[in-house]
């Protein structure tokens, strides 16, 4: 359960102040698939970054599963991200020197999990996202869709409470985008995975349980799309 209360965030770009969030409050229940939408500069990525502990608001409060995450030290935040959150970025963000399997088990290695366990689990997740036969390939040997699937597998390997996705389909064609969104929907429905996803594509709405639309740093609209 994520609870964000009255978040504000102002950036200074040179001499210009950009008011990215002007008081956003939002709750996301366990098992929800929430889409954050809005025009460019509406504050959707800023909101996702704050909820994903990658940025701090200027004011407001964020609790995740009862933990006041803004009160955590930098080191604790790193551990929280490692153990409780999973990320999927727009441009996949894989490590080029690692194979698909190595990219996926990297965070398990950091957690100090037993080798046999994380190898098995990583292979299983890669198979689940349809890359069972591409595990030993490196980033340069994978298509954009395949790379994004590896990134999703990496985000899921530690069974995160929340999966955060920042425009994961922005660099993909519509067919591949659909397959990625189908995968998200399956994870949400079959495993009850909580997903928070930023998007600006209208047709993505059909996958979300709820759509939060931002405009000029404020929530403009909240729409229920499908039953969670």
């Amino acid at each position: 359960m994520i609870v964000a209360e009255n978040l504000t965030r102002v950036y200074t770009m040179g001499r210009v102040e950009v008011r990215a969030l002007e008081g956003v409050s939002l709750s996301v229940a366990r098992g929800e698939f929430v889409g954050i939408m809005g025009a460019s500069g509406s504050g959707k990525s800023t909101l996702l970054h704050i909820l994903g502990l990658l940025d701090r608001p200027d004011s407001g409060r964020v609790t995740i599963d009862g933990t006041d995450v803004l009160a955590l030290s930098d080191h604790r935040r790193t551990l929280f991200r490692l153990n409780r959150l999973g990320y999927v970025f727009q441009d996949y963000a894989l490590i080029g020197e690692l194979t698909a399997l190595e990219n996926v088990y990297l965070t398990s290695l950091v957690r100090g999990d037993p080798k046999e366990g994380y190898l098995k689990k990583s292979a299983e997740i890669l198979s689940r996202v349809g890359l069972g036969d591409r595990m030993d390939h490196r980033q340069s040997e994978l298509s954009g869709g395949e790379q994004q699937r590896v990134a999703i597998a990496r985000a899921l390997v530690n069974s995160p409470s929340i999966l955060l996705a920042d425009e994961p389909c922005a660099n993909l064609d519509s067919q591949t985008s659909k397959s990625i969104l189908d995968l998200f929907a399956r994870l949400n429905e079959d495993l009850g995975q909580t997903i928070l996803m930023v998007s600006h594509e209208d047709w993505h709405k059909e996958y979300f349980c709820r759509v939060v639309t931002l405009r000029d740093g404020l929530i403009e609209d909240v729409t229920e799309c499908r039953k969670a």
């Binding site: 963000a93 990297l106 290695l109 950091v110």
Partner: protein
């Protein structure tokens, strides 16, 4: 997260970057480190070689290990035979050789040269110096010789070759007569019995006759200018010096280092200054190379470093992965440097550098290698750590946005 797990991840990332990163950059960096290592070790090995050559030449040809000189105010050591016997009773003394020295002028085929002529007892001289083993022509002196002289190769010279400031008679051959004018006005003609070449220029510009002959000319009675002393082992001259004094020897006892005076010390000091500058330049090059390689590497991966931090990888793990890469590069570079240096040393041992004091063989000391490895590792780790730390401590979003 346990420290060990963190290091394991750092090592994993470092190894994959080395294994699958650019081989060309890796090989070039290792090669530069290897060359820097050679540079760090090479000059000290030559300086050590010069010192070694100087010591060996001094002991083998000029002075032996110790030199006994007349008491203050005396020109000669009296009762040289008695003193010789006394010294030979000291444990660890393996030879003594009384020498009488005179500044003379040599005349040969209308040419002349001034240098030192030594009177020696041939058998005794053999027990201290190795001049007898370095004859290029003819024979060494015998105890009974009175009309024979042996001459250094520089003094004997070559036909038509001037000495360039050194005394030379330009082409004396074995069997030739050479006239010698003594400081007391006496002149004698000696037949050249042998010519030696030690490459120690002080010895190669001198000549030797027997003590019997020189004492006769100078009117000396069992007297000597110096007595050279050879000890069982080299390097413990000061101990033997004290030992001789404790046996009640009244004459001055000097080590060969003291006899050589400040000349070589000054040369070594100058060498050490050059070496310090060269070491500093090498290490600065090492710092710059490692810094640039890691800096470019981390700047190119700024976004990747941001992603790693975003997915929960501690910045210490990321920094350590770069430090481990640097350690690997430095270790392989040092090993390649050791191999390269062994090649250079082998070559220069077969074809030594020729210095005025004799041939110089590079002398690679373990301490120089260890010092070079330690300094290379120290500067490399610092040069690798700083750029990695600068990028890794950057705000996650700034790094991700590039």
């Amino acid at each position: 997260m346990p420290v060990f797990a963190g290091l394991r991840v750092s090592a994993f990332l470092a190894w994959k970057a080395i294994q699958r990163g650019s081989k060309g950059t890796l090989a070039l960096t290792i090669m530069i480190i290897a060359l820097i290592f050679v540079n760090l070790v090479f000059l000290p090995s030559i300086i050590s070689g010069v010192v070694e050559t100087f010591n060996t030449q001094s002991i083998d040809f000029d002075f032996g290990n110790l030199v006994i000189e007349p008491r203050e105010g005396s020109q000669y050591i009296d009762d040289a035979t008695g003193l010789q016997k006394k010294v030979q009773r000291v444990p660890g003394i393996t030879g003594t050789s009384p020498r009488t020295a005179a500044g003379v002028t040599y005349f040969y085929k209308g040419r002349n040269a001034a240098s030192t002529l030594y009177g020696i007892t041939p058998e005794d001289e053999r027990s201290v110096t190795k001049i007898a083993d370095y004859l290029t022509e003819g024979e060494f002196l015998s105890n009974g010789d009175t009309d024979a002289i042996i001459m250094g190769a520089t003094l004997a010279g070559r036909e038509g070759e001037e000495g360039g400031g050194l005394p030379t008679l330009e082409g004396v051959m074995v069997g030739d007569p050479v006239e010698v004018a003594y400081p007391n006005g006496a002149t004698r003609t000696y037949r050249v019995k042998g010519i030696y070449e030690t490459q120690s220029f002080g010895v190669d510009t001198s000549a030797f006759i027997t003590n019997r002959e020189m004492s006769g000319v100078l009117g000396l009675q069992d007297q000597a200018s110096v007595i050279l002393v050879k000890t069982e082992v080299n390097g413990r001259e000061e101990e033997y010096q004290r030992e001789l004094l404790s046996y009640g020897i009244q004459e001055e006892v000097r080590t060969y280092q003291e006899k050589a005076g400040g000349f070589v010390d000054q040369a070594i000091q100058s060498f050490n200054i050059i070496n310090a500058i060269s070491t500093m330049v090498s290490l600065i090059i090492a710092v710059v190379v490692v810094f640039i390689v890691i800096f470019i590497n981390t700047v190119n991966r700024r976004r990747q470093i941001g992603i790693l931090k975003a997915i929960g990888i501690d910045q210490r793990i990321i920094i350590n992965s770069y430090v481990l890469q640097v350690l690997f590069i430095t270790a392989v570079g040092a090993l390649a440097g050791i191999a390269l240096n062994a090649g250079v040393t082998t070559y220069l041992t077969a074809y030594p550098l020729v210095f005025p004091g004799g041939p110089v063989y590079p002398l690679v000391e373990a301490s120089a290698i260890l010092r070079s490895i330690a300094s290379l590792f120290a500067v490399s780790v610092v040069a690798g750590y700083i750029p990695a730390w600068r990028i890794a401590r950057e705000d996650i979003l700034s790094a991700i946005r590039g």
